[in-house]
Every structure is written in structure tokens, then in C-alpha cells.
């Protein structure tokens, strides 16, 4: 059965800080982190963008690219780059688990973005490794799913 991904407050703050710093150091317009399920984990910038749809399409893009990789006997394509007339999108898989997306224009460059993404990916990878270990530890915060009652579910549809 599919596993749960659990994100704790402390790691959430650390991840958000890495995204903020990456945006600054790479002179990027928007940085966001998505899980392979298409759920947005953290974002910097993009207030005027539909980041929910972007997250879902990015995950779809990575899934399709992964499918192509498999067909030609590649493990994965860890980086994807889309070049536009005004904006460019750099997509990178972090630790095989999550997807880091950087949107930038001509105030930055592909070289700079790649360099900064590499450093940020290493930091994010470490945080996600710790996160996995933390979720497996006894005494980890109880999943809110465990508390959900039938009445709670009924209420979702009556509010």
C-alpha cells in the first residue's frame, strides 16, 4: 500500500528556509518543492501563479519523463529544463523523492541556477533523510488520521 509522507513543523521551516535562500542566491522568481504525488510542500514567490496546478503538472511531467527513461533503460532523468521566451523552468529530482522547481528569467542564468540547485538539493536531501528516520521513530507525533471519526467525515460534507 502507498506510504504516508509526514512533514513536521521543524523540518517544514528548514525546507522553507532552503527554498528562500535558493531563490535569493539563484536570482530566481519562484522556487517550489513538490512531492512525486503532485502535492506542494514549500514555496517561495509565485503569489500570482496557480502553484497547485503547477505542482500537479510538474509531478505529471516527472512521471512521464521517468516513464521515458524506463523505456530506454535509464534510471531517471534527474534534471529537466524548459526554455521560454521570457521565463525558464528548471526541474530537479531531490533524493529520488521530491521535485525542486526553479522559475527564472534573464536576470539569472542556467549555469547559476544549476550551481545553486546542486547545493540546495544536497541540503534538502539531508533534511528528508532525517524526516524519514524521525517518522519511523517510536514516539513520533501521532498521525491525525488515527483520530478521525465517522462524525468528522460526515461533517466534511455537511458544512
Amino acid at each position: 500500500m502507498a506510504q504516508q509522507m509526514v512533514m513536521y513543523d521543524q523540518e517544514f521551516q528548514q525546507i522553507s528556509a532552503v527554498c528562500d535562500r535558493l531563490a535569493r542566491e539563484a536570482s530566481a522568481k519562484v522556487v517550489f518543492l513538490v512531492d512525486k504525488n503532485g502535492q506542494l510542500i514549500a514555496t517561495h514567490g509565485g503569489e500570482n501563479l496557480d502553484t497547485t496546478s503547477l505542482a500537479s503538472l510538474t509531478a505529471g511531467n516527472i512521471a512521464a519523463t521517468g516513464g521515458i527513461a524506463k523505456l530506454i533503460d535509464e534510471k531517471e532523468f534527474s534534471q529537466i529544463f524548459h526554455e521560454g521566451q521570457r521565463d525558464n523552468v528548471h526541474i530537479n529530482i531531490v533524493g529520488g523523492r521530491v521535485i525542486l522547481v526553479v522559475i527564472f528569467d534573464n536576470r539569472s542564468s542556467l549555469g547559476l541556477v544549476r550551481l545553486r540547485v546542486k547545493k540546495a538539493s544536497e541540503e534538502l536531501s539531508k533534511i528528508f533523510d532525517l524526516l524519514l528516520k524521525k517518522a519511523d521513530q517510536p514516539g513520533a507525533a501521532e498521525s491525525p488520521f488515527a483520530e478521525i471519526s465517522d462524525e468528522d467525515i460526515d461533517k466534511l460534507f455537511t458544512d
Binding site: 500500500m1 502507498a2 506510504q3 504516508q4 509522507m5 509526514v6 512533514m7 513536521y8 513543523d9 523540518e11 517544514f12 521551516q13 522553507s16 512531492d35 512525486k36 504525488n37 503532485g38 502535492q39 510542500i41 496557480d50 497547485t52 496546478s53 500537479s56 503538472l57 505529471g60 512521471a63 512521464a64 521517468g66 516513464g67 507525533a141 498521525s143 491525525p144 488520521f145 488515527a146 483520530e147 478521525i148 465517522d150 468528522d152 467525515i153 461533517k155 466534511l156 460534507f157 458544512d159
Partner: protein, 195 residues
């Protein structure tokens, strides 16, 4: 794969609408999109061909309110129903927390329903998942069409496990919300039993 985010206080779950071509998966999503409060849903994304057949997936993000201080969010996806889009169907199905199978009630589509259901089982098995362990709901769509088979006949052929089943006419919304509600309930109950 569900996500519990203690930082943003959000629960996120993925439900996939599966079924043969032209059975009404996208129509289910269109109806929900049109009726759901605007501030409780995102934009609907459709990756479709020029003739409006689903090419990769449709996606509709819905918020369902709060549970125990957590905002609950559902990502609803449809798969492309046409037989030759098998590879993309598999990708969309990956990490689903629940599946809604939309069957076409018309007698002439029974073979397509059975083939699609087999295809679903096969894809889940490839991901080491079993359909009988998955939150799973059936919808018999197109009940308003003259060649629609009796529900008892559809149920006998498609629902040996007796999962929740619903009659629907997706363009009018009949049965659409009931189907989703049942799926949401099963998904939450399934998550309760996981760590």
C-alpha cells in the same frame, strides 16, 4: 501516497477516477468543479487532445474543510480511458490513496468495462497493490441511456467484492457527489489503519 504536513496543518490525499474510454470520468470532475464553492477548489487542469479526449490526466484539487485542526485536501485525477494510453494510465494511478471506477452502463460497453477493470487490477499488482485491499468505489454511469443494463447485472459482473456502488448520470450530477463521499470515507478509514 497521503501527506501529513504538520507545518502547514494540511492532509493531502489522491483519488483516481478509472474506467473505459468515454465512460464519464472527466464529466464527473466537470460537475464537481462547477458545483464546488470557488474558494474551496483550485483550477481544473485538463491535458486533452484537440477532440477533448483525455491525453494524460485531468486534475481537480478540492478542499473539504477541517478535521482536528488540519485542512483536508483531495487531488482528484482521471486517467485516459482509451486502450492505447496504457503507459500514462499507469503513471496517473501511481500513489493513489483510493480509486473510483466509473463503469458505462450501456450493454455494448460491458466488454470495455471488464477490460478496464482487469487493466486496473494489473496496474495495481505491478505496484504491489491489490484492488481488494484498496479503497474502491464503483459508479454505474449513464443510467439515463436506453441501452443501460439493470444495476443487478452490472453489479454481478463488475462488483463481486460488493464495494459501495452508485448509479449516476454525470452531466446532471446525479450520483456524482454520493460516489465521491463514499470514496472519501473509505480513504480516511484506510488511512486510520496505517501509521
Amino acid at each position: 501516497m497521503s501527506t501529513v504536513n504538520f507545518g502547514s496543518r494540511e492532509l493531502y490525499l489522491k483519488v483516481v477516477y478509472y474506467g473505459p474510454g468515454l465512460c464519464g470520468k472527466t464529466t464527473n470532475l466537470h460537475y464537481l468543479y462547477s458545483k464546488w464553492p470557488k474558494n474551496e477548489r483550485g483550477n481544473m487542469v485538463s491535458l486533452a487532445t484537440e477532440t477533448e479526449r483525455t491525453l494524460f490526466f485531468d486534475f481537480l484539487p478540492l478542499s473539504l474543510g477541517e478535521i482536528r485542526g488540519f485542512k483536508t485536501k483531495f487531488g482528484l485525477y482521471t486517467v485516459p480511458g482509451q486502450v492505447f494510453y496504457d503507459a500514462t494510465r499507469k503513471l496517473v494511478l501511481r500513489n493513489a490513496d483510493g480509486v473510483i471506477f466509473v463503469a458505462d452502463s450501456q450493454a455494448e460497453r460491458m466488454d470495455a468495462n471488464l477490460e478496464s477493470l482487469d487493466n486496473l487490477s494489473d496496474h495495481l499488482a505491478e505496484s504491489k497493490l491489490a484492488l481488494d485491499k484498496m479503497p474502491f468505489v464503483l459508479q454505474y454511469n449513464k443510467r439515463d441511456l436506453p441501452s443501460a443494463l439493470p444495476v443487478s447485472e452490472l453489479s454481478a459482473a463488475l462488483n463481486p467484492r460488493k464495494v459501495p456502488e452508485f448509479e449516476a448520470v454525470a452531466p446532471t450530477g446525479a450520483g456524482v457527489l454520493e460516489t465521491l463521499k463514499a470514496a472519501v470515507r473509505l480513504v480516511f478509514n484506510d488511512q486510520k489503519n496505517k501509521k
